[in-house]
């Protein structure tokens, strides 16, 4: 940290006024579009604003999202409405104990008529892949998603195929304590940018939801009323704009400091890896975009810290036995790690 009065020279404002202005404008537009998207989904999925916001953040930050919650809280509805909002393709795979990896990714099949192998693409070739109840499938099938989540491509019979663009996996899982579930392997968990806990809506929200459902002719959720606000290409440009959001050196240091703190923190037996830093920064950028900011502040980082890190740390057995949640430990880290110095 240097004395503020002496850092004047260190500030490099290397953008020209025009470029700055055009970025601001584009940012403004992007933020408006993203907020419109948010509001559109909110119309259908009532009482889960924070969840919707985090899903959008993951979409803008090219991440994948793991949604944990008991059945019946609207996880599938959220994904379907998101897919409809940006006109993308949507496929859903219900993970069951007997699901095979090829059922997700696709496989090569011999065509008797043509006497040749044909590639039959699986449901992962889409824009939004909903992996419903992912922890109901054994680790073998869960691992089928590793490549596609990281690389955005699937290799079948030695040939790589690109998935749709944009591509996002939204996996839902039941709380691990429930019967008949397989915990996700660490490598898989690490590939999810955010883990969102979906909880029961408040009483007033639930009443509102019920009223809305009752007013529908078929008793549906009003998914057909959702407008398609943008195309998949627009989502890609949203992602590009988010990548242009300014990140100060101090913010980078703060991100690294926070993630490194999880590795040496008492009570955490396994801290987060470097992928957590990337995910945290990307999410903070997307959050800044949603809030119409052209730069990332420590507040954005703090806001995204818990969703981005909660599934990447392993609590020590003592704390786990005592029933202390990872969120509490992460909150302590946020309180005690020094915020950026300017």
């Amino acid at each position: 940290m240097t004395e503020p009065t002496s850092t004047n020279d260190s500030i490099e404002i290397n953008k020209t006024a025009d470029a700055d202005e055009s970025l601001q404008n584009r940012l403004q537009q992007a933020s408006t579009v993203a907020n419109n998207l948010l509001n559109e989904i909110k119309k259908v999925l009532i009482g889960q604003d924070a969840v919707i916001e985090q899903v959008l953040i993951a979409l803008i930050a090219r991440g994948h999202i793991l949604i944990e919650g008991v059945p019946g809280l609207g996880k599938t509805l959220l994904v379907r409405s998101l897919a409809k909002c940006f006109g993308g393709q949507f496929s859903r795979v219900q993970f069951t104990p007997d699901l095979m990896p090829s059922d997700v990714t696709g496989h090569a099949m011999f065509n008797m008529a043509k006497q040749e192998f044909e590639i039959r693409k699986g449901p992962a070739f889409t824009n939004l892949l909903l992996a419903d109840e992912i922890n109901r499938a054994p680790a073998k099938t869960q691992a089928a998603l590793l490549e596609v989540m990281q690389e955005g491509q699937i290799t079948i019979e030695g040939e790589s195929f690109k998935t749709g663009e944009p591509f996002m996996v939204l996996a839902t899982q039941n709380p691990i304590e429930q019967e008949g579930t397989y915990p996700l392997p660490e490598a898989e968990l690490d590939r999810f940018m955010l883990k969102v806990i979906i909880d029961y809506p408040s009483e007033s929200d639930e009443q509102l939801m019920l009223r809305q459902v009752c007013s529908q002719a078929q008793g549906g959720f009003g998914l057909e009323h959702i407008r398609t606000l943008l195309k998949p290409a627009h989502v890609l440009s949203l992602q590009k704009i988010a990548e242009q959001i300014t990140v100060d050196e101090q913010i980078l240091q703060y991100v690294v400091k926070l993630v490194r703190a999880t590795r040496s923190w008492s009570g955490i037996s396994r801290g987060a890896g470097p992928r957590a830093c990337i995910a945290l920064l990307s999410a903070a950028r997307a959050y800044a975009l949603l809030n119409n900011n052209s730069f990332v502040t420590p507040d954005d980082v703090k806001k995204m810290f818990i969703p981005a890190l909660r599934h990447r740390i392993l609590l020590s057995p003592e704390l786990a036995i005592e029933g202390i949640a990872a969120e509490r430990i992460l909150h302590n880290i946020l309180l005690q790690v020094e915020a950026p110095r300017h």
Binding site: T5, F295, P298
Partner: protein
């Protein structure tokens, strides 16, 4: 009773050995016993067969209830057979009415369910005791071996039931499978009227099989108890010695003296045990040798007299003063002198004296009370000490005391900036404007922000390491939420924070007007109301 004629080995046995002896006795004389049993019980069984079919349970209970009476001839046979005088069936059968009528009412009413029935029957039948004498006699007999008698009754009953069920099953097993009838219903259900008579017969068979053994075992227990009480084995041994030595005058004279002496002792001892109970002598038994149809064992006690304890004590003393019991030996052995014993003696006498003294001391009770109080005080002190010693642990376990927040020292640096009064110039606005004019916008804003933080800290707002600029603004907003006078300052700090964040993280310079405005207004916002606000906060 002639012990020379006894056909069993006379020795004290344990109760279970006695039961074994009873079984052997039953096996040995089973035929005469079962003969007389069938003779006396068959008429009663025939009576039950005359009962209507639905009186099945009545028949069962009737037979079972009469058992004490029907068992009496069996005991009669056994009691004679033991002394080698097995009576014939006819004479026993003739005696049955007189045997059966002895105390029949009591035997079939309140004594019927007595668990020690088998052991008590000889007292009634052979000794002919009744009333209080019988009770006393039973009291003596029951001092030992009553528990095996109870178990014998219980096991006998269980055996009867097992035999009954077993025989029914046995018959059942011989029924061909082709006859498809639910035989269990016939035997055990209420529709089993057809087979009631068969069942009753089976029950009678079961009783017949167990009765001789039951009576014999009970009699064996009784005999064993008498052998122990009256020292029959010693008696027999002396008789044997006496017979062997009768030819040798000198020795025989000695043995005679010894026998007489011991028999006096034995008779006295018996008197002490059960009141004037005279052991039948050989002379007496010679009268019984000619079988007269009366029980052999029924005269062992003589006339009943009250126990004269004084006389008994005298007799015992007299015996003990005889030469045989008063032989003295002097043994000389070397021994270490034991001064400790003397000390012990001294200590003992000291304590004795002390307690004697204390007994007479009137204030002793008061002193004891004082001692008690002191002890309680000691216990209370000990508890207090333990509580004090482990107070932290106890507090952690049971009492959740919220620690009183210790007043924190005001931080001197925050966000890496020096926020002490010394580091700040007197005129913040003036200095900031000067910096702004020189083009150092960042320095100007930093100065404003630093000064603002200084005032925030000193107005009581707690700022931690983890707080960001935005959170500081929110803290300030919360802190002054109820203070309308400070709202301009809150608004000013929010604006300053926004511009500072844009500059620091977004690398965006504020517009000249905004910067100018912030610099110029700092003094007005923070210093004018600062004093009053600080006072308000401290209050």
């Amino acid at each position: 009773m002639n012990l020379d004629q006894v056909t069993i080995e006379i020795r004290p046995r344990s109760a279970w050995e006695a039961l074994d002896l009873g079984l052997l006795m039953a096996k040995r004389w089973w035929l005469p016993m079962i003969k007389i049993w069938l003779l006396v019980s068959l008429p009663f069984f025939a009576m039950t067969q005359l009962l209507p079919a639905n009186w099945f349970w009545g028949g069962v209970i009737f037979m079972w209830w009469l058992k004490p009476v029907l068992e009496r001839p069996l005991l009669h046979i056994l009691s004679h057979a033991v002394f080698n005088a097995l009576p014939d069936t006819r004479s026993t059968f003739n005696l049955f009415p007189s045997l059966a009528l002895k105390q029949i009412f009591a035997s079939l009413t309140w004594r019927r369910l007595s668990p020690t029935r088998c052991m008590d029957l000889p007292v009634l039948q052979l000794e002919g005791l009744s009333g209080a004498r019988r009770q006393d006699r039973l009291g003596v007999l029951h001092r030992e071996d009553s528990s095996p008698a109870i178990w014998l009754t219980f096991m006998g009953f269980a055996l009867e039931l097992c035999l009954w069920v077993g025989m029914i099953s046995f018959i059942w097993a011989f029924i061909p499978r082709e006859i498809d009838i639910e035989w269990a219903n016939l035997f055990f259900d209420q529709e089993s009227a057809q087979l009631h008579r068969l069942q009753l017969f089976i029950w009678y068979c079961a009783l017949s099989l167990t009765a001789p053994f039951y009576v014999a075992c009970g009699f064996a227990l009784y005999l064993n108890r008498r052998i122990k009480l009256e020292a029959w084995d010693i008696d027999i041994a002396f008789r044997r010695i006496a017979n062997k030595r009768s030819s040798t005058n000198l020795l025989s004279a000695f043995v005679l003296v010894l026998t007489l002496g011991l028999s006096v002792f034995a008779s006295d001892a018996q008197r002490n045990v059960y009141a004037e109970d005279q052991l039948p002598t050989m002379e007496n038994s010679s009268a019984a040798e000619a079988y007269s149809g009366e029980a052999i064992l029924d005269q062992p006690l003589g006339e009943y007299t009250e126990l004269d304890r004084h006389q008994t004590q005298e007799s015992i003393k007299a015996v003990l003063q005889q030469a045989e019991f008063s032989r003295k030996e002097i043994q000389r052995t070397l021994k270490f002198d034991k001064p400790e014993e003397e000390e012990d003696d001294e200590a003992a006498t000291f304590w004795k004296k002390l307690f004697n003294f204390l007994d007479n001391f009137e204030g002793f009770v008061a002193a004891a009370s004082l001692l008690e109080i002191l002890l309680w005080v000691g216990v209370a002190a000990l508890i207090g000490f333990v509580l004090y010693r482990y107070r932290h642990w106890l507090a952690a376990q049971f009492v959740r005391i919220t620690p009183t927040p210790s007043p924190k020292a005001k931080p001197v640096t925050l966000f890496g900036m020096d926020v002490t009064r010394e580091s700040l110039p007197e005129d913040i606005s003036g200095n900031a404007l000067r910096l702004l004019n020189t083009g150092d916008v960042r320095a100007a804003l930093a100065l404003l922000y630093r000064a603002s933080l200084f005032h925030m800290i000193h107005s009581g707002i707690e700022i931690h390491d983890g707080h960001t600029e935005q959170e500081c603004a929110e803290l300030m907003h919360q802190h002054f939420a109820s203070n309308s006078a400070a709202q301009t300052r809150v608004a000013y700090f929010a604006a300053l924070t926004r511009e500072w964040q844009r500059l620091a993280y977004g690398h965006l310079l504020p517009s000249a007007e905004k910067a100018q405005h912030l610099c110029a207004n700092w003094n007005a916002c923070w210093l004018q109301q600062g004093h009053s606000t600080a006072q308000g906060v401290t209050q």
